[in-house]
């Protein structure tokens, strides 16, 4: 195989892996997709190694080994679906390496997330729903919505402003705690605990914790430990945010 084409194949599978890792796909799926893509282009022996912060891809022979650094991670399931679709097309032999590269670049740049007001509204509604699911009372429904919506908008805004996830999570859970305690003190709300639990749910790193345990069991030890640490930090930030309100009030 000519070197130029091989180089393109490396680029395609690395970009696919990068987008998937950044969008919150499972580690094993990232590695699986990358080796599938290179196998579909006729490279039988390739090694890829994915951790939440870096991605290494190497082929046998004289081809260069490449490393991609991943600094920002979020959850964007739409991108995972799109990349998955492309990898299916590649496996079926419908896309050349060049075509795949251009469409992957399009996916990387495109913004598929829902408008921010809709995301905040979802956090608003789901907080109230969680309150009911955790046996709260309908009286507190709107209060939990309010606290959850405020907390989630604070998270989005502060994350952009401070560019430090830990502090943004801390402050937004602090806001949730303040809203919950104030409403209960003034007699509008009934149960502080239920309101806080319901409205904190949009911030809780449930996906991360589960993925971490899952990666550990599946043998991806590095990825599992790293994700576990990230989840722990988030939970810790939320915890001390809430704790701070209890100490102040």
């Amino acid at each position: 195989m000519k070197p130029a084409i091989t180089y393109e194949i490396i680029e395609v599978s690395l970009l696919a892996g990068k987008i998937m890792l950044q969008s919150g796909a499972e580690t094993y799926r990232v590695e699986d997709t990358m080796s599938r893509i290179s196998a579909a282009y006729g490279i039988s022996t390739s090694h890829c190694y994915a951790t939440p912060t870096a991605l290494i891809f190497s082929m046998e022979g004289e081809n260069p080994t490449k490393l991609v650094r991943i600094s920002e991670r979020s959850t964007d399931l739409n991108k995972v679906t799109l990349v998955n679709g492309i990898s299916r097309q590649i496996s079926a032999g419908e896309l050349s390496a060049k075509e795949a590269l251009t469409s992957l670049k399009e996916i990387e740049l495109a913004d598929h997330t829902y408008p921010i007001w809709l995301q905040i509204f979802s956090a608003f509604i789901s907080s109230g729903c969680f309150l009911i699911m955790f046996q709260g009372q309908w009286n507190d429904f709107l209060l939990a919505c309010l606290a959850g919506g405020l907390g989630f908008s604070a998270l989005i805004y502060l994350h952009k402003l401070l560019e430090m996830k830990f502090f943004a999570e801390f402050l937004s859970s602090f806001i949730i705690g303040v809203v919950a305690i104030l409403t209960v003190r003034t007699g509008i709300g009934l149960e502080v605990d239920k309101i806080i639990i319901g409205s904190v749910m949009p911030l809780v790193p449930g996906l991360l914790i589960t993925n971490a345990v899952r990666d550990l069991i599946a043998g991806h030890l590095m990825a599992g430990v790293a994700k576990g640490a990230e989840a722990f930090l988030t939970a810790f930030a939320i915890g001390i945010g809430i704790a701070a309100t209890f100490i102040i009030f």
């Binding site: 399931l77 739409n78 979802s122 809780v204 589960t210 345990v213 915890g239 704790a243």
Partner: protein, 144 residues
């Protein structure tokens, strides 16, 4: 019971929006979440331990997600994430954190251990369904 069904449906679908799942899969996300929470709630209110209830509910979520993923040719994670969210022990972790702050370490460690066991149960449920899926795939290959 009906309010539990409706709220879990809305909450799971809303989480689909937060995780920017594709538009056409939002209703399915809601359905998966509702099914999981329904089973959990049913078992939990008939005095099954919360770990067993979570395990069973996750297994159900994972199986439905696998079927959906196969049928609609999308990654499993889209459906399983939204379905698992209601089962995540957010309340327990909160209680644990609160006890840590109030210097009640005995209680806090107990709660934290339980939260850890519950997330372990969720992960086990997901893995079980994957193992079953692979067994089915392999047995099909052998037949061919």
């Amino acid at each position: 019971m009906i309010e539990q069904l409706i709220t879990s449906f809305i909450a799971s679908a809303a989480f689909g929006i937060i995780f920017s799942a594709p538009k056409e899969s939002l209703v399915k996300c809601g359905f998966v979440g509702m099914a999981g929470w329904f089973l959990y709630f049913l078992l939990y209110s008939s005095n099954v331990s919360s770990i067993m209830a979570t395990l069973a509910a996750t297994l159900l979520v994972a199986i439905i997600s696998q079927i959906f993923a196969r049928y609609y040719k999308t990654p499993v994670i889209i459906f399983s994430v939204a379905g698992i969210i209601p089962l995540v022990p957010g309340g327990l972790s909160y209680d644990a954190m609160r006890n840590f702050v109030e210097n009640d370490y005995n209680m806090a460690l107990q709660l934290a251990a339980r939260a850890f066991m519950l997330s372990g149960a969720i992960a086990m449920g997901l893995l079980f369904s994957e193992v079953i899926n692979q067994l089915i795939k392999k047995s099909k290959q052998v037949k061919n």
